[in-house]
């Protein structure tokens, strides 16, 4: 597989959210706005790329029976690093007292560790492939995840609050259900439908 294909497969062909249905819990939980989705997506991208890189480096010296515990320790370390960095640098509230990005993502940052995409890519790809292609795979999968979350967050924010990335273009409230959990399921369902329709067309 060429490097480009390897990188690009995470966006459409093997998109973690729309095709593989992995990591749906943070997907539904954090996408109440486009910015939250993007923040969560980028945090996961960092963890995916770094853990893929390190795991592909050490996979050949790790005995088979302690493979999973070792991977989990490596992944958990990167998640804690992201958590510490985000609580240090993304913890400033907005000018009107909106909660900071770190507060909005809350419990979902430490929960990246149980996101099945991360361990899934470590097991299925990084432990069997070269360092460079593992890094590309992690970046591609992570950015595909971030793309899906940002898209879902934008749709929910446009319909629910009449704004996108915080820029308001409709006065007053939108369809408020889309900001709350049921709206997440509805929006995701329709996005998957459109995605499948579009994929059938291009194949």
């Amino acid at each position: 597989m060429s490097n480009l294909k390897n990188f690009a497969k995470g966006f459409v062909k093997e998109n973690p959210v729309f095709v593989l249905f992995l990591g749906l819990c943070p997907t539904l939980g954090t996408t109440s706005s486009a910015l939250n989705g993007l923040g969560m997506g980028l945090a996961t991208t960092f963890v995916l790329a770094m853990s893929n890189l390190v795991i592909s480096l050490v996979a050949s010296v790790i005995p088979d029976k302690v493979r999973i515990p070792s991977f989990i320790v490596i992944i958990a370390s990167f998640v804690t690093i992201v958590d510490l960095l985000m609580s240090a640098y993304t913890n400033t509230p907005g000018p009107n007292g909106e909660p900071s990005l770190y507060d909005q993502l809350g419990i979902f940052i430490p929960l990246i560790v149980v996101n099945c995409i991360v361990l899934g890519r470590a097991e299925a790809f990084a432990s069997k492939n070269s360092v460079f292609s593992s890094l590309l795979d992690g970046l591609g999968m992570g950015l595909g995840f971030a793309f899906a979350l940002t898209l879902l967050g934008s749709v929910r924010e446009i319909l629910g609050s009449g704004s996108v990335f915080g820029f308001k273009f409709i006065q007053g409230d939108g369809i408020l259900m889309f900001v709350s959990p049921p709206g997440a399921f509805l929006a995701l369902g329709f996005l998957i439908m459109l995605m499948n329709k579009w994929k059938q067309k291009i194949v």
Binding site: S60, S77, L85
Partner: protein, 192 residues
């Protein structure tokens, strides 16, 4: 890639090395971010305090007074301009919210008059209960400049003086409950 044979010794050594390396990395990052995390936290607190009390020159976070009530803690931050007490910011809470606990920062002037109220944390319904935030409606403005001694902190339906948010009586009651708790503690707290 060939799988590596697992023996007791090499499993032990591998796990030891992996955990050792990751704890060393975490220790380093922790030391590195300790300062910025503390700064971000106190800046956040100070911003909320700044919003609800008049101009001050001291560091309210350093003179905080804690009061335990109903299994949770209220924090009293005295704001001073020089030696003169100009107000007290009370971080208060209620467990009566519609979607869970609500935390508010209530600013009192030294005579007990409410200066301003900021919402720190809430899980109320978007479009209904979340109107208690200043950015969303004028609900919280009706408290400003009122002294709870002659302004009954409960909604009109319950015989008080507060105009509830339409269709959000529970959130409005919870809000009053939190402010009332702050006022009680402020009165007893006796920061003068």
């Amino acid at each position: 890639m060939a799988k590596k044979e697992s023996t007791f010794l090499n499993m032990l050594v591998t796990l030891l090395l992996v955990t050792l390396a990751s704890s060393a990395a975490l220790g380093y990052i922790y030391e590195f971010t300790k300062g910025p995390i503390a700064i971000a936290k106190s800046a956040k607190k100070n911003m909320a305090i700044h919003k609800v009390v008049p101009e001050f020159t001291n560091l309210p976070g350093e003179e905080v007074k804690k009061v335990v009530a109903d299994n949770d803690t209220l924090y009293l931050y005295p704001a001073k301009n020089g030696d003169q007490l100009v107000g007290v910011a009370v971080e208060t809470f209620t467990n009566k919210g519609f979607g869970g606990p609500i935390r508010l920062m209530v600013g009192f002037l030294p005579d007990g008059t409410i200066n301003d109220i900021a919402v720190l944390e809430h899980k109320e319904t978007p479009g209904l209960g979340d109107k208690m935030q200043k950015s969303k409606s004028n609900f919280s403005l009706q408290f400003e400049g009122k002294n709870p001694d002659n302004f009954k902190l409960s909604v009109k339906k319950d015989g008080g003086d507060v105009d509830a948010i339409t269709a959000s009586t529970i959130s409005s009651r919870a809000f009053c409950d939190a402010v009332q708790r702050a006022y009680t503690v402020f009165k007893e707290g006796g920061i003068q």
